[in-house]
Symmetry: C2
Subunit: 389 residues, 2 copies
């Protein structure tokens, strides 16, 4: 015990690290958020370079395996993804008989069901974990797209072997082959959201896998955690605010009133970034393009005015738009309904969850924190039910 | 930031609190494990008093609500439990069409499915969370029993209104009304395992609900976390060891050899208890009774000899049997197959998970720890796929 005096301090002081704010729980080589410099790095690569030159298939491989795939690795991996994006009859039936369900709850259930059907998951061995994880990276986007398709009243669409993962997400969502611009924007969205530090959903996947549970369990936990509005709901709320404001002329008054009432403006500010969120910078250009293309210019113009107003008022305090401010608008323009935004988030974060879960378990330590008992010490006397008040 | 100097120390030092060993993450009034004194306390009551006088219904109510129920509260709660222990056709179909699945994976999926079917869970409000949680306390044991029933090739059994929860667990498992002794032992097992500090599964339920996700998500995470052999598998391994040893005469040699090879003897020692685990003490008496009743005396006698041998060799170092050493034997004597032991654990721990999740979210703080990036800083140059090795 003597080699780590800080730990003893904590145990003695019995400080409560609620929410674990500021507490470092793991080391990682997967991704890095440099809040001061406004950099997001995956395995050493800048997010700007990846979104400009790469694809989600490459990025998912990079996050999980630590290097960009060579031609052979790329071919093998995309084959796994393509095969995984074809859903079984049972999963299709689950989705279509539960099209009224909350998309995130339904996704969580589908992933858990896949785990119950996979005999490799019964006693998860290292090699199997990675295989199952890579398959889930292909499976989850197909489930999300199919949930949208079912909600829209369409029939299940098998993935097309000609399309990228991003292309198939749109194709399986709508039954229509997407144009190149939409496919590209979807691809960028998937890349941008693939990994982002030690957030609650990622952390929950580490806690789950630390018992040597299987990767389906880890991702089921992550999806259930992402479902909470404190985590996955910000882009929906940002979009709704912009829609409510309606047009640029209304911005000054609405934002001014909200700030005076100290209401939170969703899509602004970030715990880590003290400068402009690099993801928002990338997404903003695509948001302009896709809203124009789909006749929703007014939405973008209103958002731009909100951004200008906010930066004028709060930019000096380090408050800038974050990725959620523009992603909702992009998904809306691609035809996704707000209630499925969180599930789309899961579709791209799946690769980060898998990468970090496998990394954690490769040098595993069971999570077993302490809680501080502040209740009655007793022993209280047991009083029979007839004599209780 | 200045009011908490210890937190700043951690952030500066960037110590890695892997597994969060020794780090206190929450305050609780639900339960207390006093390792020095060998006491387990639920809301101020000693576990010995509860298992002697109370029932699992009362204990579950106590953990969740903070006090033992009066007559009216007891009636209302048992009505909720009874109604919940009748499974829907959909859940029954899920179980019977997946009777080959790992019981814990199947339980995780069934709980997730219940959440996807419950519109209250879409946007979980405080009051609904508690109602849904109390229903889950009734639902999960019925699911576990039905999984056993399906694996045994029987048909779904509706719960009997005359029986206790423990009684119905056995009835829904076997289709036969249990004798009073078996019902009582099952009841004690449920009470003994209902809550036990801030273990990995309980912690994962807190992480999930801290995003304001719903209680189904929290328990789905907990079940997936419990599935890992580092958490839920010890009683199965202890039972297998005792069975392998076979008879008291073999104990000395087998245990001696294992200790010499520094192999871990499952069911002995505990992170918190430095004296005899109070749950093991209670369970041991019942283990003797139930093994005798079911013609498995040899199992108990072998276990007793293992205990004597271990205490002689290691008792002075604070190594004593823990609850897992005797629970496997009890479940075996009640006719449960080892592969379902972890799911039975979940059936009783459900009340602790619900109690602690509701408690945490009532004074919530989102879990968002830090990870330390030790990978390449880059920026690495993006090299096109054709030029990669």
């Amino acid at each position: 015990m003597h080699e780590n005096p800080k730990r003893i301090n904590i145990m003695e002081a019995n400080t409560i690290y609620k929410g674990l704010e500021g507490v470092t729980v793991s080391e990682t080589k997967v991704g890095f958020v440099d809040g001061e410099a406004g950099r997001l790095v995956y395995r050493g690569y800048n997010i700007e370079d990846l979104t400009e030159h790469s694809s989600y298939e490459e990025v998912a491989y990079l996050l999980i395996n630590g290097h960009l795939p060579n031609a052979k690795e790329y071919q093998d991996f995309t084959q796994v993804l393509r095969k995984s994006s074809e859903l079984s009859k049972e999963v299709v039936d689950l989705i279509w008989t539960h099209s009224e369900s909350h998309p995130t709850s339904l996704l969580r259930t589908a992933v858990s069901l896949l785990g119950a059907n996979d005999r490799r998951a019964d006693h998860a061995l290292d090699k199997d974990q990675k295989d199952m994880g890579m398959e889930l990276v292909g499976k989850i986007p197909a489930i999300v797209s199919s949930i949208r398709r079912a909600k829209d009243g369409g029939k299940y669409v098998s993935p097309s072997p000609e399309l990228s993962m991003a292309g198939n997400m749109l194709y399986q969502s709508t039954g229509k082959k997407p144009d190149k611009t939409s496919e590209r924007i979807m691809d960028v969205c998937l890349m941008l959201h693939a990994d982002h530090g030690s957030n609650a959903s990622t952390f929950s996947s580490l806690v789950t896998i630390s018992t040597l549970s299987d990767i389906y369990s880890a991702l089921t936990s992550a999806i259930g955690t992402l479902k909470g509005p404190l985590h996955g709901g910000a882009n929906e709320m940002a979009l709704k605010l912009i829609m409510k404001i309606g047009k640029p002329e209304n911005v000054e008054k609405v934002i001014g009133d909200m700030l005076q009432k100290k209401e939170k403006i969703m899509g602004f500010g970030h715990r880590v970034y003290k400068v402009y969120d690099p993801r928002a910078k990338i997404l903003k250009g695509f948001a302009r393009e896709v809203t124009q293309k789909n006749g929703k210019e007014l939405l973008f113009q209103t958002a731009q005015k909100v951004e200008d107003t906010m930066i004028m008022k709060l930019g000096s305090k380090g408050i800038f738009p974050n990725v959620d401010f523009y992603s909702g608008m992009v998904y809306d323009s691609l035809g996704f309904h707000p209630d499925i935004f969180t599930a789309i988030f899961a579709a791209s974060r799946a690769s980060g969850w898998v990468a970090r879960s496998l990394e954690y378990v490769s040098d595993n330590k069971l999570f077993r924190p302490r809680s501080s008992y502040i209740g009655e010490r007793g022993p209280k006397e047991y009083i029979p039910i007839g004599k209780r008040n």
